[in-house]
């Protein structure tokens, strides 16, 4: 059986810095995998490599048996992988609903030809999509904020909207970069519940997370990254029990 | 009052020339008005600024003709003049160009009158003089990269080669740029016997820069060299040039300078002259009791045919013939060395 997502021997160097070193791992379908490691370990870089934002120096990524090597970000999304960003990257001057709409695929009228020559059809499908977008927002509990400009949403709401936006792409594998950082208790619980719910709906999640409580509660598997190298792969309990990893993560010199 | 129009570049980079032209017209008109106008009619010129752009010129032409029913409009620069020419034909409005010398202006419209000869005639005189009288067999050309300069280059090239000479190099300089050094260096490297220059402004700077490279060639120019600042520049010693003859009486030049603080240069003189031509036509129409329309003005112009203003201007065609002098700049003065009367 081929793995759902297979990452083989990724290497990436930025100038003198080896950001990724022989990273190989697989992710099983339907599970929540947490990617943990100290700052600068290369977690975001792995995301970038999988989603086509960064060409690794060497190594391969395959999704459901298809190679993603050399694919552009938009092609990767079409294969069913979507990601969020550590610094959100929402469209601040658009409304929450428009942000979700931007994530939806196969829009009629998303190129000028149809927009100009099939105006009625465009308007009609747009109306339908707007309703669909409301459903997606309802999924993360933002239906009331649909027509609020993103800049006026609270930080927690913005974090939720990031997830809504990639849900709208219809992707099955979601890569979330620190979805809970900066969130307070209630919002945090909400996001954790959302992640569980997404899992139960058949999505597969790869999550970068610093909060150990969150990792313990949601992760099925944990990948531990250090200096661009994958040190361990196991259940949360195993990883946390490993004194060597704990020393790297919790102790160590500044 | 009788209203005339003028569409000239009064701001922007082309304003160097445009504002001089404006002063020439204004001076002539003020002079006439001070004497009580033409048969009791005061003259007023409405100046419009086209920044040397064709679309503005067309708009302003329509404005003057439509809103003010203007019979005659002064223009300068060939681009704007050519843009307005078809309108002049359609609206039977006299366009009077006193400064631009591109050959295309000659036949652009029956209503486009040039009170200054187009360059072809002037440069034929120069080329012949250089080859035959001065014995120069090779020439290089430095021209301003605009309509006037290109026409100058083409005309000189044609005439000089026809006379038997050879053009060894040619270089353009952008309009308004007074850094001629790279072009001069390149032209000097071709070792011509004479350098022909056609640039509208910045001639004193040119003289300095020619002196700096220690040039061995003779420098020749057209009427644009009649710039008092150039003549006063010691580095212009020995330059020769044609001059579309236009001379202001001593007192007049002084009065002009007193009024505007700038020299009574070539362009003000030319437009002074153009304004006199138009006003003579108006005078005739008034005397004949005819309405002052573009059509009548044009007819009057060809009836009068020979105008004696600052220079004798003869209209056999739309373009005036005037006397042309060959001058040499010596000891900060312009001396005539040959006279070519109007054809």
């Amino acid at each position: 059986m081929t793995a759902y997502l297979q990452v083989t021997d990724l290497n990436k160097r930025f100038g003198g810095l080896q950001a990724l070193r022989d990273c190989s791992f697989t992710i099983a379908k339907g599970r929540i995998t947490c990617l943990v490691g100290p700052n600068g370990a290369g977690k975001t870089t792995i995301f970038n490599a999988i989603t086509g934002f960064l060409a690794p120096d060497t190594g391969h990524v395959a999704f459901q048996g298809t190679s993603l090597d050399g694919k552009t970000p938009q092609q990767v999304v079409r294969h069913g992988i979507a990601r969020t960003f550590q610094n959100l990257r929402l469209f601040a001057d658009l409304t929450a609903r428009e942000n979700v709409l931007a994530g939806m695929q196969d829009h009629v009228g998303e190129e000028p030809f149809a927009a100009i020559f099939r105006p009625i059809h465009t308007a009609r499908t747009l109306a339908a999509k707007r309703l669909a977008a409301l459903d997606v927002l309802a999924h993360v509990g933002l239906q009331d904020r649909a027509d609020t400009l993103v800049r006026n949403l609270s930080y927690g709401e913005q974090k939720l909207l990031c997830i809504a936006r990639i849900l709208a792409t219809g992707a099955d594998l979601l890569l979330l970069d620190e979805p809970t950082s900066g969130l307070s208790g209630a919002a945090l619980t909400e996001v954790m519940a959302l992640l569980r719910r997404l899992q139960s709906e058949g999505k597969t999640l790869l999550v970068v997370e610093h909060n150990t409580r969150v990792v313990q509660q949601i992760a099925d598997d944990v990948l531990f990254l250090h200096h661009g190298h994958l040190l361990a792969h196991g259940s949360p309990a195993e990883i946390i029990a490993d004194p060597k990893l704990a020393e790297i993560y919790f102790g160590g010199a500044l | 009052t009788i209203k005339l129009g003028a569409v000239l570049p009064l701001t922007g980079p082309a304003a160097v020339v445009g504002t001089q032209e404006q002063r020439g017209i204004q001076y002539a008109v003020d002079e006439v008005n001070a004497k009580g106008g033409i048969a009791g009619h005061k003259i007023e010129v409405i100046f419009e600024d086209n920044q040397a752009k064709p679309d503005q010129s067309v708009l302003l032409f329509n404005k003057l003709v439509d809103l003010q029913k203007i019979p005659a409009i002064f223009t300068g620069y060939s681009g704007p003049s050519l843009a307005m020419a078809p309108l002049a034909t359609r609206k039977k409005t006299l366009l009077v160009n006193g400064g631009a010398q591109a050959d295309a202006l000659d036949k652009a419209s029956p209503y486009l009158i040039n009170t200054i000869p187009v360059l072809a005639g002037e440069l034929e005189v120069l080329a012949t003089y250089l080859f035959a009288d001065a014995g120069k067999k090779t020439a290089a050309i430095l021209f301003e990269n605009n309509a006037a300069g290109i026409a100058g280059r083409d005309d000189f090239l044609g005439s000089f080669e026809k006379a038997g000479g050879k053009i060894v190099a040619q270089e353009p300089v952008p309009f308004g740029d007074t850094n001629y050094r790279p072009a001069l260096l390149k032209l000097a490297a071709a070792a011509p016997e004479v350098l022909f220059v056609v640039i509208t402004s910045g001639t004193p700077q040119l003289a300095d820069q020619i002196r700096q490279i220690d040039a061995k060639f003779m420098v020749a120019g057209n009427t644009f060299f009649s710039d008092p600042e150039l003549i006063a520049n010691p580095n212009a010693e020995g330059f020769i040039h044609t001059q579309v003859l236009i001379n202001a009486p001593e007192g007049m030049a002084a009065a002009f300078k007193a009024k505007y603080g700038t020299e009574f240069d070539f362009f003000p003189k030319q437009y002074y002259n153009a304004a006199t031509v138009v006003m003579s036509c108006i005078e005739k129409l008034l005397k004949d009791g005819k309405p002052i329309t573009g059509e009548n003005l044009r007819a009057a112009l060809f009836e009068i045919k020979t105008f004696k203003g600052l220079t004798t201007t003869v209209f056999n065609t739309n373009t005036a013939a005037t006397q042309i002098n060959m001058n040499r700049i010596t000891a900060k003065a312009d001396t005539t060395i040959k006279v070519i009367p109007p054809k």
């Binding site: - | 304003a15 160097v16 040619q170 270089e171 308004g176 007074t178 790279p182 260096l185």
Partner: protein, 285 residues
Amino acid sequence: MLWLNLLLNGIVWGCALGMVAVSFSLIFATTRFFHVAHAAVYGLGGYITWSALKHGLPEWAALVVGVAVCAAVGAAIQKLLYERLDRSGATHLVILIASLGLSAVMQNGVAAIYTSNILQFGLPWGNRTTTIGGALLTNTQLLTVVFGLASYAGAMWFAHRTVLGKRMRAVASNPFLAEITRLQPRQVHVAVMAIGSAMVCIPGVLVPLDLGLQPFGGVPILLTATIAVIAGGVGSITGAFLLAVVIAVLQNLSLLIMPGEWSIGITFGIFVIFMLFRPRGLFSS
């Protein structure tokens, strides 16, 4: 020896351009909007100095007057115009348009006062020549090189060695932090505008000393200087100066192989292609 002459000529012109580029770079790197009225300040410097000379001041004093007036005008522009626009949350496009308006005001003001005629400084020593490596250079040109190199060195020293210079770079890097660490970004902007404007007065005098004064003469030189600033990499003084010299030399040397009317076009063509290969300029961080 045509090439040597052209090369020297290019270097001289490059130094003049480089002074404009360096002064513009200081301002642009700090404020990040296109202060196109810099061209008008350049022009103003020349006219003020010219007037001071006509009033009988010695050359050096006239230059000092010009520099001082430019500095004051630069500071005033920042305080009275850009700072207000910035406070009202104007975007860079809006500031650009306002700056265009300002240059229209300044240049036409100069044109209304001094006329559009080309004015000459008429300082005989400026045209005297010296032979250098087989080429004749005027005193003005030599002065241009001297001042050009001095301006470059001065700007480098200022930006990287003085506290005000470092403060200026700090403000550019993180305006919010600058505000809360009391670097007083507003004052720094005013200071930078004053310094940049004072600096541009020098080419504003030296170039017209050689080529004559024109009210709109600053525009083409600023355009080319801006290109040098960007191609050199925003914030890099060395990049701005070096590229200014390179552009000037290229434009001169290109005459060796093609007619002059194409040299400007080709230079800009090369620039566009260069930007495709180095989208953040030569010395980008």
